[in-house]
């Protein structure tokens, strides 16, 4: 059997993991990344410390990047996208935007997600008031070393509110899913703020807290027990300003009274949208999307990582909100699925 060739699209955690796994198993990998560097959202968006390892993204994901970049079996195309993709399992041809044509037995889409654009919810004040920021921006404040400061005047915030479910669980804007990671990320950010600014108070406004699985202890519990973060059961209706501070309007649903509370900084825990390019990606690769706009998964019980088209596989947040750890696991899982699929014809012939 000749050496298999696999196209991996996207170099976030899932793509880096899939590419490495395939190369380690002896395949030749073509890794296509539309940005000018590898790493995906954790690197491009400047995440700070990751959940749950607390390692800096640039170290943890950076390590994955270095491993892939140093691998002879992986051919990397940066600032490139796949423009055309045809053929079938064992015999695909991909045309890249840089003019190259790649042959591949299979492809793994690790095209990830897009952060929800908070501008789409004007009542929450993003883009109107400078001190309304997103979780991604707070990550950047940490990772850049600048620290958490109010963008309007650089002051240290006394009181910070984190709003959960921004761009998630909201039919008004067609987002009827839970973004899965924002509760944990928010608890993490809240603890980091409290650690960096011990005099500050941090409030998390929630509908439910979904720090699933083992994240319960080190995030939901620890943020309260060790860091005195306060959780208030209210989905915020509106962020306004009285000209001095931000004003949060909501209903404290446990007290059953409306609230209008002043804050220095409001952090929106932005959800995970389908990749904005998904419609295009779907048409290039001839695959289906689900009703939310994510890549539709084939039934998982036979083989995980399939799409609606044989030979085209998928891993990570391309299929829906996903954690970094699970994206990495799915990258490896898709690699196994690819290898298994390529062996299938051989097996069938033998039988």
């Amino acid at each position: 059997m000749s050496e298999s060739r696999v196209l991996v699209v996207g170099s976030g955690p899932a793509g880096l993991s899939a590419a490495h796994a395939l190369a380690a198993a002896g395949s030749r990998v073509t890794l296509v990344e539309k940005a000018d560097r590898l790493g995906g959202a954790p690197i491009l968006s400047g995440y700070a410390r990751l959940v749950p390892s607390h390692e800096w993204a640039r170290d943890a994901i950076g390590g994955m990047v270095a491993r892939v970049e140093g691998n002879q079996r992986i051919d990397i195309h940066r600032s490139a996208v796949v423009e055309n993709f045809e053929g079938s399992l064992g015999n695909f041809r991909a045309k890249l935007s840089n003019g190259q044509v790649i042959g591949a037995d299979a492809a793994v889409l690790c095209t990830g997600f897009t952060h929800f654009d908070s501008v789409s919810k004007p009542e929450w004040g993003f883009g109107i008031y400078p001190d309304v920021v997103t979780t991604v921006q707070v990550e950047q404040m940490f990772s850049s070393g600048a620290g958490v400061r109010c963008p309007s005047d650089g002051r240290v915030p006394d009181r910070v509110a984190i709003l959960l479910c921004v761009g998630s669980r909201d039919r008004q804007i067609g987002r009827e899913w839970c973004s899965k990671i924002c509760c944990t990320v928010s608890a993490n950010i809240a603890m980091e703020i409290r650690e960096a600014l011990p005099k500050s108070s941090v409030y998390i406004y929630y509908m439910d807290v979904r720090t699933f699985g083992l994240y319960e202890g080190p995030y939901y519990w620890e943020s309260q027990e060790e860091h005195r973060v306060k959780y208030i059961k209210a989905r915020i209706a509106e962020v306004a300003s009285d000209g001095k501070r931000l004003i949060l309007k909501g209903e404290d649903t446990l007290v059953k009274r409306p609230i209008t509370i002043p804050f220095d900084m409001v952090v929106q825990a932005v959800g995970m949208d389908p990749n904005v390019d998904n419609v295009h990606i779907a048409s290039v690769f001839g695959i289906q999307l689900d009703k939310y706009g994510y890549v539709r998964k084939a039934p998982v019980y036979s083989a995980a990582g399939g799409t609606s088209r044989p030979g085209v596989f998928v891993a990570g947040a391309a299929t829906g909100p996903e954690t970094i750890d699970d994206s990495i696991a799915q990258g490896q899982s898709a690699a196994i699925a690819v290898l298994a699929a390529m062996r299938m014809p051989v097996q069938e012939a033998a039988e």
């Binding site: 501008v119 789409s120 004007p122 883009g127 109107i128 306004a240 949208d273 706009g293």
Partner: protein, 452 residues
């Protein structure tokens, strides 16, 4: 621009539809461009998930269920963009005034300012007596009424608008209804959605309208767009500016957007990237900015005025408390507002009339409140008493007039002396009263109408 008539299979898919004849690649590029430029809120996923009721309307028309009253060339439409970047045609000429009971009843400067501005632009319109309130205030206040009655009243009034031109010997559909009241606007838009969704409701209403002789070819008549006067003002704002004679540059204005204008059926409301970055409803704000005033945001801009529908009649304790604490006080203390501008009947009444009683609890605020059209008329030199009828406003508009350099004392004296003429039966009018009746008792066919 050439306009190809819709043909073949696509006939009926909206009056503006035409085949583009683009290649798939060109179409893709064009779509990309539109998606990049479209309103920021019109995100990919969402766009397909919010229903544009007009699409259902065109389908029903194609199926022969309804007739759509179209906005045609005689209405000189201007296209505006709504919340999700959809297009909405706003007619600017040949308009049928669908008045507001609250405006005509206690803010008469409201309709007179609209008519005055239209006269200034030489716009053809009809102001007739064959119309009723939408009755939605009563419904929302008391619960007396129901969806069927509201829908029937909607279609009766709009049918009358459609046929009204016949009285002048003009073809049906010449005049297009312009809704003055915000509650009527919101209610009619809701009714249109219910009607488009429910065959049962259509059947119930069809029976009633048949009895009244209010069907077109046995079908319900549905307007292509339901248009609020503030939308007309919005698309006319640059033309209004050409007539501006009063400098508004040193004015700090706050806007009270009306709930029933922009919270009911929000997808149909005009947003404009040049007006507060598209983060606030564009009407009124766009006009005030165009007239040179500074529009100041305040923390309760989204709040209701406190009208309450039932409360204003039965329980003003809530209305006055809310109006003062949540709107007037904030606009004065926070925004240092010189004037609050609204675009709906109940809000103007509530915010204007309920200020005085604040003295009872030492909350003394004096914030002039008026409608966008009244302000526009003043800016274009309208008489503050004779035309804008400001004497019906309880809030102290005199200080505002001084700030605008208008001598209100002289104007008041002029008006008082004019009242003597009125008492003697000599009064000025914006409109030929003979045109006010278009059928039934009192109708007189006008000379020359046949030829018009």
């Amino acid at each position: 621009m050439t306009h190809k008539e819709p043909t073949g299979d696509y006939n009926g898919f909206g009056p503006g539809w035409k085949a583009t004849g683009l290649t798939p690649a060109e179409a893709r590029r064009a779509t990309d461009w539109v998606e990049a430029k479209i309103d920021r809120r019109a995100l990919l996923v969402n766009k397909d998930r919010v229903e544009d009721i007009r699409e259902r309307m065109w389908e029903l028309e194609k199926d022969g269920e309804i007739v759509v009253h179209r906005i045609g060339d005689q209405h000189e439409p201007v296209v505006a963009r709504t919340l999700y970047g959809w297009e909405k045609k706003i007619p600017t000429n040949s308009l049928w005034h669908h008045k507001s009971c609250g405006q005509c009843g206690n803010i008469p400067g409201y309709p007179s300012s609209i008519l005055w501005l239209m006269n200034k632009f030489g716009i053809r319109y009809l102001d007739e007596t064959d119309q009723t309130s939408c009755t939605a205030w009563n419904y929302h206040g008391s619960g007396i009424g129901n969806v069927v009655s509201l829908a029937a009243i909607f279609l009766r009034n709009f049918h009358q608008a459609y046929v009204s031109a016949q009285a002048q010997g003009l073809p049906v559909g010449t005049y297009y209804p312009l809704v003055h009241c915000g509650t009527s606007f919101g209610n009619y838009k809701e009714m249109r959605i219910y009607l488009m969704h429910s065959a049962e409701l259509r059947e119930q209403v069809r029976k009633i309208l048949g009895k009244l002789g209010r069907l077109v070819d046995g079908k319900l008549l549905i307007p292509e767009e339901i248009v609020h006067y503030s939308e007309w003002l919005h698309v006319m704002r640059h033309r209004i500016r050409e007539h501006q004679v009063v400098d508004c540059g040193n004015l700090r204005a706050t806007i009270h957007p009306a709930c029933h204008v922009y919270k009911m059926v929000p997808e149909d409301v005009i947003y404009d990237d040049t007006v507060m970055d598209g983060n606030r409803v564009a009407v009124s704000t766009g006009l005030m900015q165009t007239l040179g005033a500074q529009v100041i945001d305040y923390s309760t801009w989204y709040d209701c005025c406190g009208f309450g529908f039932r409360h204003i009649i039965g329980e003003r304790e809530f209305t006055r408390s809310f109006a003062i604490d949540r709107k007037i006080k904030v606009a004065v203390d926070e925004a240092r507002s010189d004037v609050m501008i609204g675009h709906d009947t109940g809000c103007i009444t509530t915010l204007d009339k309920n200020q005085w009683i604040g003295r009872a609890v030492d909350k003394v605020y004096e914030l002039p409140v008026m409608a966008d059209c009244q302000f526009a008329a003043l800016a274009c030199g309208a008489h503050p008493y004779k035309l804008a009828q400001l004497h019906w406003h309880a809030s102290p508009f005199e200080t505002l007039l001084e700030k605008l350099g208008i001598d209100w004392q002289q104007a008041k004296a002029e008006f008082e002396s004019y009242l003597k003429d009125v008492a003697d039966g000599r009064f000025e009018t914006l409109y030929d009263p003979k045109r006010a009746i278009t059928s039934g008792p009192g109708f007189v066919r006008q000379q020359g109408d046949q030829a018009a």
